[in-house]
């Protein structure tokens, strides 16, 4: 080969999205201009559990500029309720029936009760104030254990208790098999030299994006047009089609080109977009709704909130022999299309064994309805509480055995991969130990222990703590179909036009992951074109192939793979035509695509990319036998197994035993993310995930009072970490290419926050080891640490 070209995959190519985003020319949902739009404002319940006696909308309707005011009674006969067939997973559970507006009663503080539509948003807000609702309060239950009591108020009609979902994830599929497995686990516990039992609790918090939700919908004679903040425009199209009985080919849903973060929050099918679609149909005008921060914090973005009653049995060296976990999730009102709150704790339960070699497990999860907002997905998707529980437990075990927690953790890390976990999750080939050892080397554990001893001699208390995380990047259809009733494949179209410019069409809807850059790198490498000239279009249900959305780190695993397959198909077609035109007989693979040229195996240029594109599309004569002129290829990429990425995290802290104050010195993550497309983007994703984990652990907390009234619906009350709150971060990799993706990539980023809180608390407990302080619940703040120190010193 005479022409050298450097691959772009694997380089920190500067993000292409930034040119518009740093100059104010991005286009987010609230920026989409729609002429003649009405503005909607939801009136939300100001109590947690109450029967609606009467709603008086007369004064609101009478306000000049108000187009409509609707309540649950106005829609219950008009809009089908959820669940419907496009929002109900196949898991056995109670899927509580609900409408976009409360019908009969309200079940959480913040539930939409009425909606006002007006000429401008100020008038809509005024009118919303005039809606009068007469409630009859019902007993409130805000605690999942209380919700299980026989005398607990039951949230949903037709249910005998509040259990929305319950499942044993280990031992097999029949009760007999599961009972036999439980007996085996009991026997291991009975014979084990060490057993430990703890209750771990992770509070309600999540990853609220900086941009709230929004919808603009316009129902016209030619169909339904919707722009909305969403991770899954094709799924939304399907749902609108089903609910409003309009064929899918008349529904056009677009996610905006730019979305201000999502982290899972914009994945479910929520009440409000359904309502907005109904309103545009009813009123014959476009209707717009941009969520306020207050609404957002009350209605969505609340996750975690699990109790783990965890037990382990271990040998003298610290090898875990068996694990028993009883998980209780506070599922809130559970009314949320596709996820229903419980899909996250379900997945979290399946991932409790994490990347540890635990031979036998008995894991059971229950999700219980309470008078709170439904759990909605947040990055780390249900796994954060289980990570916290297991990683804390390993440290508690190490202390009991008088060993370094790092040593005990290493002993338990899975060595044999691929692996099927006791909960049936397939982990593909990787080398977790290599990642762990890289972490230990990077943090210089031996050096740190010396430093720690020296500091202690001076009365300073520093400590180090660890956590790990195995996380699926995308979910194969074999798992996603039963979990969410939806396919997992990745899809993309690559189109070459007659002047040789390339367009990538992707049906996902990214929200900051840098797909335009990463997918351009992939296509530019495969086709030898300038990445700046590649256009990547996302999130449009008409222009793009069906896709299940941007969530669960699917970009690097599924979508990039589909893009690579589509580009590869076009590449070999172009190579064949170029060889045919040159009357050469070589294999298409011998042709190199670089610098806008096609070069034969002997180094001689065959043609330019632009020329061959024009030749094929505009002059489709004398093509090789059986070939047509299409330079558009859509590829679907499916996998039999998930692509697991792996993180090992170390947090270093200094803590003050007098005051309970602590300071994070730094955080290091070592990871296996497979082959990397763009290292700068991967590092940035990791930084963000670490800080989300820290912020969850230390600051963020959704607070409800005893009456179920939300006390955390502002960013003042729901504090998110700021620049001065966060420590320096280091990211290193020990990658093992994925064996079942075309580029060897895995997706990454989803799991990152999960192991961080456990590592932080482990570090604090390590720093304060001389005081034998043990922390088993989150959040961790100086006042709580101080109380724990007092309790420890009291005995």
């Amino acid at each position: 080969m005479t022409t050298m070209h450097k691959p772009l995959i694997g380089t920190s190519y500067r993000r292409r999205e930034d040119a518009r985003l740093t100059t104010g020319f991005g286009q987010f949902i609230a920026d989409i201009p729609v002429a003649n739009a009405l503005h909607a404002k939801f009136v939300r319940s100001d109590r947690a559990h109450a029967r609606i006696r009467r709603i008086d909308v007369a004064r609101a309707r009478a306000l000049p500029g108000v187009a409509a005011v609707l309540t649950g009674e106005d829609i219950r006969e008009v809009i089908p309720s959820l669940p419907n067939r496009s929002t109900q997973p196949l898991l056995p559970a109670h899927y509580p029936r609900h409408w976009p507006l409360a019908v009969g009663k309200v079940r959480f503080h913040g539930e939409p009760v009425a909606v006002v539509v007006a000429e401008d948003k100020y008038v809509a807000a005024d009118a919303a104030e005039l809606v009068e609702i007469d409630y009859e309060d019902l007993p409130v239950v805000t605690d999942p254990e209380a919700a299980l009591k026989p005398d607990a108020p039951i949230l949903h009609e037709g249910m005998e208790n509040n259990i929305i979902f319950e499942m044993t994830l280990t031992g097999g599929f029949t009760p007999e098999e599961q009972a036999a497995n439980a007996r085996e686990v009991d026997a291991i516990f009975a014979a084990a030299p060490h057993t430990l039992s703890r209750r771990f609790r992770v509070h309600r918090c999540g990853v609220t994006p900086l941009e709230t939700r929004g919808v603009v919908a316009d129902w016209t004679r030619s169909g339904l047009r919707v722009w909305m903040s969403t991770q899954r425009p094709h799924i939304d199209r399907l749902v609108f089609s089903d609910l409003f009985a309009i064929p899918q080919n008349m529904v056009h849903v677009s996610a905006p080109q730019d979305q201000g973060g999502a982290f899972g929050v914009k994945a479910p099918v929520y009440r409000e977009p359904i309502m907005i679609v109904h309103l545009t149909r009813l009123l014959g005008r476009p209707v717009r709704w941009i969520e306020s921060r207050e609404e957002h914090l009350m209605a969505v973005s609340q996750e975690r909130d699990q109790i783990h009653d965890l037990e382990i049995a271990a040998d003298d060296e610290g090898r875990i022999l068996a694990l028993r976990d009883r998980i209780l999730a506070d599922n809130g009102d559970s009314c949320e299309g596709v996820f229903w709150g419980f899909v996250m704790p379900f997945y979290g339960a399946a991932m409790v064994p994490n990347g540890y070699a635990i031979p036998k497990c008995d894991i059971h999860v229950r999700a219980v309805a309470t008078n709170k907002s439904a759990l909605s997905p947040a990055r780390a998707f249900g796994t954060l509480p289980g990570r916290f529980a297991v990683d804390r437990m390993i440290d508690i075990l190490a202390r009991k055995l008088g060993k370094d927690p790092a040593e005990v953790r290493r002993l338990n890390i899975l060595r044999e991969l691929p692996h099927v976990s006791p909960t049936g999750v397939h982990y593909d080939y990787s080398d977790y130990l290599k990642v762990w050892d890289k972490l230990i080397e990077t943090v210089d554990l031996a050096g740190f222990r010396r430093e720690q001893a020296a500091a202690r001699a001076e009365g300073r208390h520093i400590g180090i703590g660890f956590g790990t995380s195995v996380h699926a990047s995308g979910v194969a259809s074999v798992a996603l179909v039963p979990m969410e009733g939806q396919p997992g494949y990745g899809s993309a179209t690559v189109k070459i036009d007659s002047r040789g410019t390339v367009t990538v069409l992707e049906g996902d809807a990214p929200q900051g992951q840098g797909h335009e850059t990463a997918m351009s790198q992939v296509v530019a490498d495969m086709l030898g074109v300038d990445p700046e000239a590649v256009i990547v279009r996302v999130g449009d249900s008409v222009a793009t192939p069906f896709a299940s959305g941007t969530f669960g780190a699917r970009g690097g695993s599924y979508t990039a793979s589909a893009v690579a397959l589509a580009a590869k198909a076009l590449r070999s077609k172009l190579a064949r035509i170029a060889l045919h035109d040159a009357r050469r007989n070589e294999e298409p693979d011998s042709v190199t695509f670089a610098g806008g040229k096609l070069i034969a195996g002997d180094g001689n240029p065959l043609t330019t990319f632009a020329d061959i594109a024009e030749r094929v599309i505009m002059r489709p004569l004398d093509l090789p036998e059986g070939m047509d002129a299409s330079l558009e290829h859509t590829a679907f990429f499916e996998a039999d197994f998930p692509m697991m990425s792996y993180d090992a995290v170390a947090v270093k802290v200094e803590a003050d035993p007098e005051t309970g104050r602590f300071r994070i010195l730094d955080v290091t993550v070592a990871a296996d993310v497979g082959n990397i497309i763009n290292p700068q983007i991967v590092e940035g994703q990791t930084h963000g995930g670490i800080v989300q984990g820290l912020s969850n652990a230390m600051f963020e907390e959704f607070v409800y009072d005893a009456n179920g009234i939300q006390l955390s619906s502002t960013l003042e009350a729901y504090k998110i970490a700021n620049a001065a709150d966060v420590p320096p971060m280091h990211v290193v990799h020990a990658n093992t290419p994925c064996r079942h993706t075309p580029l060897g990539t895995r997706g990454m980023g989803e799991g990152t926050p999960g192991p961080v809180p456990g590592a932080l608390v482990n570090a604090i407990c390590d720093a304060l080891a001389p005081f034998a302080v043990e922390i088993d619940s989150l959040p961790i703040r100086p006042d709580r640490l101080w109380q724990a120190l007092r309790a420890a010193s009291a005995g």
Partner: protein, 161 residues
């Protein structure tokens, strides 16, 4: 109640009649169509996404009424680049990957530009402290801090020329 205001926005004088209760952020976005200024909280002044310059100083435009800007000069993110040349802070944000979704970015940049005007050679701690009024949910701030430091260095080098 409407009132007529005259504001110089990104160097151009605009005169509009606006309702007295209209927020400055709504004036900028809805009346002038300058949608680069974002909104991330409900008039709490916590997130900083709406930060613009009022007479050169960073302010949160959700915390002001449009009528309060009468007779004043406003610069938004759209007006920051001069004669087609990006501000060094804008450039550094790209080079250091200081943004992911970009929703916080306009406010972050406007705040950083004002900060560097008064503090041309900041320490890392000073940069972090200067940014506490701007929430970023995506990046974890490390690259933002690096970008601001790099922009400061670039601006000092340019000033020294």
């Amino acid at each position: 109640m409407a009132q007529t205001i005259r504001v110089v926005v990104n160097g151009r004088t605009v005169e509009r009649s606006v309702p007295e209760r209209m927020l400055l952020v709504d004036f900028i976005r809805d009346e002038l169509g300058l949608t680069g200024t974002h909104q991330g909280c409900t008039y709490e002044g916590v997130c900083g996404a709406c930060t613009v310059h009022l007479n050169g100083e960073a302010v949160k435009s959700c915390m002001m009424l449009a009528v309060q800007a009468d007779g004043e000069e406003i610069t938004t993110i759209e007006g920051l680049a001069r004669d087609g040349a990006l501000h060094p802070v804008q450039k550094a944000f790209n080079e250091h990957h200081a943004l992911q979704c970009g929703y916080c970015t306009s406010g972050m940049i406007m705040n950083a530009v004002d900060f560097l005007r008064t503090t041309p050679a900041p320490t890392e701690a000073e940069i972090r402290h200067a940014l506490i009024g701007n929430i970023c949910r995506c990046t974890g701030y490390q690259n933002i801090v690096a970008a601001v430091a790099a922009a400061a260095a670039a601006m000092r080098a340019r000033a020294a020329e």
